[in-house]
Amino acid sequence: MTQKTKKYIYKRPESLTNDITIYCPGCGHGIIHKIIAEIIDELGIREKTIGIAPVGCAVLAYNYFNFDVTEAAHGRPPAVATGIKRCLPDRIVFTYQGDGDLAAIGTAEIIHAAARGENITVIFVNNGVYGMTKGQMAPTTLLGQQTTTTTKGRTALQHGYPIRVCELLATIEGATYIERTKIDSIPDIIKTKRAIKKGFLYQIENKGFSLIEVLSTCPTNWRKTPSKAMEWVGAEMANFFPTGVYKDKGSPNK
């Protein structure tokens, strides 16, 4: 009889704990958390990574990631990351931020962290709505989109325009790598993983500031089913927020 050896072809990443998340069915955070955890496992950096959780739905990220994580006040993760990275330059430091955190209350912090070229990786999850507080207008809410503070739909006249973060940050000299991806299909999830991995690799290679914006879902506050929410990311969000590489100073063939 030949002896069979077990070979894992799939398992839960070591960088994720066994906790059950608070996220709603169809929420993008689960996918993005897992992508990050897989990357950290693949790069073998779990024991030298320090994550920064935002204020918002992902505030409990320290319960889900199996490595050192700190909270930060709303919008301040880039400043907190700056403090951590400057004190421990050989550790891998990333922030995980939503659209309210990064593009509204924390606009100054993200712009200046990029301008200083801080050697950190920023994962920017854009779902166009304040999820934790039950669906108010975000800085990235699309024109016409209904939220609990724009019940008749966002209008430019009354509420102003949504902010395109990647386009904005790509103009900043200090930023190294800026890319926008989405998670509404398997190929796009694979692209997102590739982009986030590049962000981490650039940090390991001391190439400077990376931001990966991920167009994500919020079925609960969008009042959509999980599958309709995924469709909406590709059909509506990606129209206003085109995916792609906005800046890549780190690539050898830039």
């Binding site: 990631f65 421990l88 100054a108 912090e109």
Partner: protein, 351 residues
Amino acid sequence: MAHKRVERVILTGCEAAAEGAIRAGCRFYAGYPITPQNRFPEYMSERMPEENGVFIQAESEVSAINMVFGASVTGKRAMTSSSSPGISLKQEGISYLAGCELPAVIINMNRGGPGLGSVTPSQSDYFQSTRGGGHGDYRTIALAPWNVQEIYDLTYLAFTLADRYRNPVIVLADGMIAQMMEPVKLLPPVKTTPTKKWALTGCKRRRPNSIKSLFLTHGVLETHNLKIADKYRQIIENETLYQTYMCDDIDVLLVSFGTCARICFEALALARAKGIKAGLFRPITLWPFPSEHLQRVAEKAKKILVVEMNCGQMIEDVKLAVKKDIRICFYGRPGDGVPTPEEIFREIKKI
């Protein structure tokens, strides 16, 4: 034993506090320019790189305190400095530091307020420094130096206290102490700073650490806040500092802190020369306030005169401390004015 040479230098209050911080092992500073403390970040921008420390000129006070939060998360000794309007902006971060039980030192070179106020010395941030300052049920240790030597010594001490209790410590000076130059005896640099098991350094050979102030599960926040309250009781018990001057035989007891106390000290001499039995009680820790000690000294007095450069803030703590039925008067200069010894002497005679 070999005779150790004491290093003596002439420094401004800003420079003395900054040098005190560096010698206490502080290796991270983030700040934002604001008068009257601009010499502070300037000095740090030169000294920190010499010590392999980090200096960052932040984009805002909000960002500066959050950078300090980040540095403190790693276990490094970290600080920021500012003046009143800037300290208001830092309150969010100070509340998070207190909630997360992170040590940090914050220097406030108090200027006039409210609003933009003025750039001249003031003590109008007493309430803010001693009552928590930001949102939530917390306290910050508040140290009030009265000269340049003391701002050096207290800043040095502030790091020990911050680490010992895992709590932010405020050094509350003012525009006068910030900018005047005096000789300072330097303390030797600390050789080691405490290792912090709770710090985030990467989870090598240990379980992951997390730093947080969010406790959503029923009852957990209450337990956390009661634990913090217990810590505050220990601080009150162990860390209260004050000084008394000419208090053995008194009719009039002056109570004053910082720059104002120093001017009161001059006024004592004028009073004593005229045969008025005046003494001075000077709290050095504004929180914890030396209530019991003040009560003991006040037992001997017939009247109390509280002197502050504000409209009357510390006087509330004096009234809470003094149990005896006694007249407690107030003299304050709540704007650009720094009182003269003669002015205070006139008040002593009046009451």
